[in-house]
């Protein structure tokens, strides 16, 4: 994918006069301001973070020298941190399939110029423009025991009430439901964009052959957007690894750490307990896990393409 957007190497040299493709140092000034911003605010912190993760650095106590791998060994003997890895992975496993399946279902069903389909698309996309605090405020009210919308519905249906905020079993699924509700618009939109690239003639041919809906889906639609399915899965895994606000504001990570994600651990150690070195080490572990997940998926997606 990245090959397509890489600029072509310069064809002409400075000696050929004032052509549009002429290479000149002066042209670098177009990109220089942004490059400075990236180096100062992404690349520098990236290396500073790696360095910090090997230091005993406390925002109050100050810098107390290098500690080699001590922050990392402490992390992997910290039961709360290990719990956050488990929770984060569980959360990714819960939400990613939901995003892909529901997103795909909505995109396939609503892929038309019909007015009612446009309205429905707007409904499913609308929640993604809300901020995490508005979303969690709404859902904390929905999840209220007794008075909440969820409790009203379960009462009406005669089901036992569940309280996702205080239940060890339902805390993480409760956060997952909120997340899918919040940003289902992203996978839906990406799938819709891919569906619109499929030539109409293929469907017309299939209709002439009286192909069933299922056959059309499995032998035309899904194979045509296979690449997008891989990309969306990858994107969702990476995005859901970053779970933070929803968990912090709905369950606070509880009960008994059952819904505390890795990013919340980084936030709490780094910005509440001010243990900068320790938090920087936790960030590196998160980053490494995300990279591994991305590489594995990229690799799986590619080997499938080759078959």
């Amino acid at each position: 994918m990245s090959g397509a957007i890489l600029p072509a190497p310069s064809q002409r040299t400075a000696t050929t006069g004032s052509g549009i493709g002429m290479s000149a140092w002066a042209n670098m000034f177009f990109v220089l301001p942004y490059i400075i911003v990236v180096v100062a605010l992404v690349i520098a912190p990236l290396f500073l973070g790696i360095w910090l993760s090997f230091q005993d650095y406390d925002m109050l106590g100050g810098w107390a020298g290098g500690v080699a791998f001590e922050n990392y060994t402490n992390l992997f003997s910290d039961r709360i941190f290990l719990g956050t890895i488990r929770n984060t992975l569980l959360f990714v496993v819960m939400t990613t399939p939901a995003f892909v399946v529901v997103g795909l279902f909505l995109a396939i069903t609503l892929n038309s110029h019909l007015r009612r389909h446009a309205v429905l698309r707007s409904v499913f996309f609308a929640s993604s423009v809300l901020s995490v605090t508005v979303v969690t405020l709404v859902w904390r009210l929905v999840y209220l025991p007794n008075q909440g919308l969820l409790a009203s519905v379960t009462n009406l249906l005669g089901l036992p009430g569940i309280d996702p905020v205080t239940s060890e079993t339902w805390a993480l699924p409760g956060v997952a439901v909120v997340t899918v509700w919040w940003i289902i618009g992203l996978p839906m939109t990406l799938f819709l964009a891919a569906l619109q690239q499929i030539p109409k003639e293929i469907y017309e041919a299939a209709a002439l052959d009286r192909a069933s809906r299922w056959a059309t889906l499995t032998s035309i639609t899904l194979p045509s957007i296979r690449r997008t399915i891989v990309v969306v899965t990858l994107l969702e895994v990476i995005l859901q690894f970053q779970l933070f606000g929803q968990a912090l504001l709905i369950t606070g990570g509880g009960p008994d750490n059952r819904s505390r994600p890795m990013v919340q651990f980084i936030y709490e150690t780094g910005f509440r307990d001010l243990q900068v070195g320790f938090a920087a080490a936790a960030s590196q572990v998160l980053f490494a896990l995300m990279l591994v997940a991305a590489i594995v998926q990229f690799w799986v997606g590619r080997s499938r393409d080759e078959r």
Binding site: N27, F30, S131, W181, R213, V276
Partner: protein, 279 residues
Amino acid sequence: MKIRTPSTATGDRLILLAVVLLAAIWIAPIVWVVGLSFKPNEVLMRTTGGLVSPPFTLKNYTDILNSSAVFGWMLNSAIVAIGQMTLTLILASLTGYGFARTNFPGKRPLFLLTLVALAVPEQAIIVPLHTMFATLDLHNTYIALITPRLAFPFGVLLMTQYFRAISPEIEEAALLDNASRLRIFIFIVLPLSVPAQATLGIYTFLHAWNDYFWPLVSATRPEMYTLTVGLASMQTNFAQTEGLGFLMAQAVFAGLPVLVLYLFFQRHIVAAVAGAPTR
């Protein structure tokens, strides 16, 4: 256009029914919260049933208007979002044009740097970034709230793609007239990119407005809170709140502006999410 047999027509209807039901579930929380935000707190203490039955009140909203903090937070959010949007548009346009249309030594490695930045998640650098701004004593300022978000590789890629699609002939004519590249960019290319600017601008604005993690750790003084952080700070003591109706009105009050923005600019927002600027 489709060739319809009776069985596919029934199938169509069943699927539409399923999607409509799903949509109803999707908007139910919002309708419920909006409805109950107009009910008195005393009534909500007893029951949250009876969405459409009186009594109704506007008191929950006037309570918000009387608490001065919310307006300060909204102003902060507006300053940060507009600042981020403006600076991102300037940086992304210049850079996108540079990569799409000009040549200079080291272009490929510099473009790769942009792609690398795309792969670094916020969480991996937020701790050192916070340390850097603390060393410079910049926290609780607008500079700290705005600058870290200017490294936005997505915007650069979007503008690069857009400028590459514009025909180079227009520029070549101007070059023959000895116009400088900067003049060509400002007076010829930039006016052609207004649709892409709108897409990227609205998207950046929304992102900045909804941003949570960085403002949470950078703006620690309540008067520097953005709306997202301020609202979150009021949620922490959820149990002993001023009342359900007040909370619901807050959610509506904070959510409404972006939903209105969405209604007006839906096309641009969806295009940005799909990664293709509107033309």
